[in-house]
């Protein structure tokens, strides 16, 4: 259904915010798809079910000035890069894998990915939550930041690749390293948290010193931090319909908190 058709269908009273509107994205250009969603949202629709998505970019990006925090989008297929870029409020659920730069500079909202995600997820993310059931690629959480009550959070169910949390300036990332998959061996990643100067990474499993950047300290989480981990793992289980009892098991698992040694890692770098 395109915008014109939608207007025709509901000429006066607008579209129902409770009804899931199906859109078949097969062969659709991303601009047309995103415009259609926006058009429907302007008429009152709030729930979108996108079918056959193959690489359309910027899903969720242009939904500003609507009641954006009520908008929900389900994506079936493989959304294109920059999904949720600059996103400010909507909730996206992907039944499949996401590509690169998901949640780029995202401000608010939530993204749930049932599969894995590519590189540079959450670049410069300022707020909101991203849950990934599978693994993530290179440079995830790069330069996430926090300010006041805006603390962006990412939970990764699987593994991470190199340069994870690079330049991280705030926010939190929890890495479960396949805990809910029965703990298969995981690939080691390197250069974790290089240049980190804010925020926290909670990492399940052992971290060798050669895997992390010089700016990072490793310590066991405090009880208060455990509460945060539990809260988000609880959300994670809810997002993916996992038995919540398992969250309790997690407590026995070894977690490490990776945090910056200093908020000014390069204070000694320059001559007077």
């Amino acid at each position: 259904m395109n915008t014109a058709q939608a207007k025709k269908a509901n000429p006066r009273k607008g579209l129902s915010p409770r009804q899931w509107i199906k859109i078949d994205a097969s062969g659709m250009y991303y601009k047309d798809l995103n415009r259609q969603i926006r058009g429907l949202a302007e008429q009152g629709a709030r729930k979108f079910d996108l079918q056959n998505v193959y690489g359309q970019r910027y899903i969720g990006t242009n939904l500003w000035a609507t009641e954006r925090d009520k908008i929900r989008i389900r994506v079936h297929g493989t959304p294109g890069s920059d999904m949720g870029a600059f996103m400010d409020g909507p909730e996206i659920e992907v039944y499949g894998n996401a590509q690169d730069a998901t949640g780029n500079t995202m401000n608010c909202g939530k993204i749930v990915i049932h599969g894995s995600a590519g590189d540079v997820l959450g670049y410069g993310m300022r707020g909101g939550e991203i849950y990934i059931r599978g693994n993530v690629g290179y440079r995830v959480g790069i330069h996430m930041k926090e300010y006041d009550d805006k603390i962006p959070t990412i939970v990764v169910g699987g593994t991470v690749q190199d340069f994870f949390g690079e330049y991280m300036a705030g926010g939190r990332i929890i890495v479960l390293n396949k805990f809910f998959e029965g703990n298969p061996p995981v690939r080691q990643s390197y250069f974790i948290g290089t240049g980190m100067h804010g925020g926290n990474i909670y990492f399940r499993g052992d971290v060798n010193i050669e895997q992390i950047g010089a700016e990072v300290n490793v310590i066991e989480p405090t009880d208060a931090e455990w509460k945060i981990i539990e809260r988000y793992v609880h959300n994670y289980c809810k997002a993916f319909d996992l038995g919540e009892r398992k969250v309790k098991l997690l407590k026995r698992e070894k977690f490490w908190r990776l945090y910056p040694k200093s908020t000014r890692p390069y204070g000694m770098l320059y001559a007077y």
Binding site: F163, E166, Y167, F191, T194, G195, G213, P265, Y266, L269, A271
Partner: protein, 499 residues
Amino acid sequence: MLTAQLPEFNVDRDEDRCIQCRVCERQCSFDVYGYDVQNNVMIHKEENCVACQRCAVLCPTNALVIKENAYTYKQNANWTREAISDLKKQSETGGVLLTGMGCDKPHKIYWDHILINASQVTNPSIDPLREPMELRTHLGRKPDSLEVKDGKLSFPDYPKVELSTPIMFGAMSYGAISYNSFKSLAQAAHEYGTLFNTGEGGWPKELRKYGSNTIVQCASGRFGIDLEYFNDAAMVEIKIGQGAKPGIGGHLPGEKVSEHISLTRMIPEGSDAISPAPHHDIYSIEDLQMLIHALKEATDYQKPISVKISAVHNSPAIASGMVRAGADIIVVDGLRGGTGAAPKILRDNVGIPIELALAAIDTRLRDEGIRNWASLVVSGGIRNAGDIFKAIALGADAVYVGTPALIALGCTVCQKCYTGKCAWGITTQDPYLTKRVNTEIGTQALVNLLRAWSLELKELLGCGGINSIESVRGNRLQLRGIGLESWEMETLGIRGAGQ
């Protein structure tokens, strides 16, 4: 005899500030200061002042300003103050003018006419602080190709040295510089993972523990040489020439040959240490091959052998011959290369700038398909990390720095090294002066220099989207010329800015 020389510098003392503590008097090794007890004032012999600034830096009340003397002769583009003063000195003495440090004439500094590239959009610049950025450098012959036999890599295993950064300390002998300065160089090279060069004045036994960070020289004087000397080092260098004084030898006066220097150089105390102009076993290129292989034989083919020449007009052809003669590393020292003592007439007039020699040599070796056979190290006039980056992009594998290391130790480039009176305690053997270099502080200063320049090199790599120094080596597309004539850019193998 009355001298017609005017003092080169003025000592400007603020009498209101001066507290007559006599620090200046004790610090000055050139006898500029005296103390007039009766009047409680300091007196000056300005004609002795060399503007080393030791007194000004140490004056507790900042009462001293050392200034260039404002005296002037009639303006003359030809007969400058320096020309007149030099001539008068010679007419008074009948001698050859001596000087120290590198050529100070305003020949074109090509580094300052070369600009560096950066990545914008089409490739990302790389953040050197957070992503790997590699400066590690290996010097020595490289194979032309490798082979895989039965699934295993087979390769000729040429001897090599490894550097953590492509910066080494150039040859400065114990004798030319003080023991503390020499030791600081050794310790800093060791701490930072690079090499220092002993020069030709031998190698004190107690410093041999830094052998893996040491290059020993085999020069025409053959001082302090035995098999242990070669085999304790990481690399052996045959010194043919030096940028400051191509084609001539050297002379350490007997009064500097102290007990320890005598032991190190293996010559009697108090005797002159004379380095002949040529090696008397090298009168031709095939003789060089003989000496190179003698050294290889002496070191059981375990050490790379380098050969150092000064940059002269036909350096490319000479370099090609050196490589074919078996040199694993060739070192070229340019016009502005430093020295402890050299005739001024040679220093200022003989040789060519290192930038041009380097580019021409790298091009020639590539044209001949033998660039892999030897590494190329350059020196002479390198002042900062930008110069180093440009040298490497023009084709160098690494650089030697001498003057920068001395400046880090305190030197102010007053050019009086040859007098043996260095007030900073660097180029002197006077025990009263040499203790002015503290080896701990000196080592730290040198390590700081290496660290700072390495960080800056990484910044320069990163801004060009490159994360390993081998991708800069010979990558002249990273460079552009400005204010150069077309023949100069052609020689450098670079294009003009905006082209």
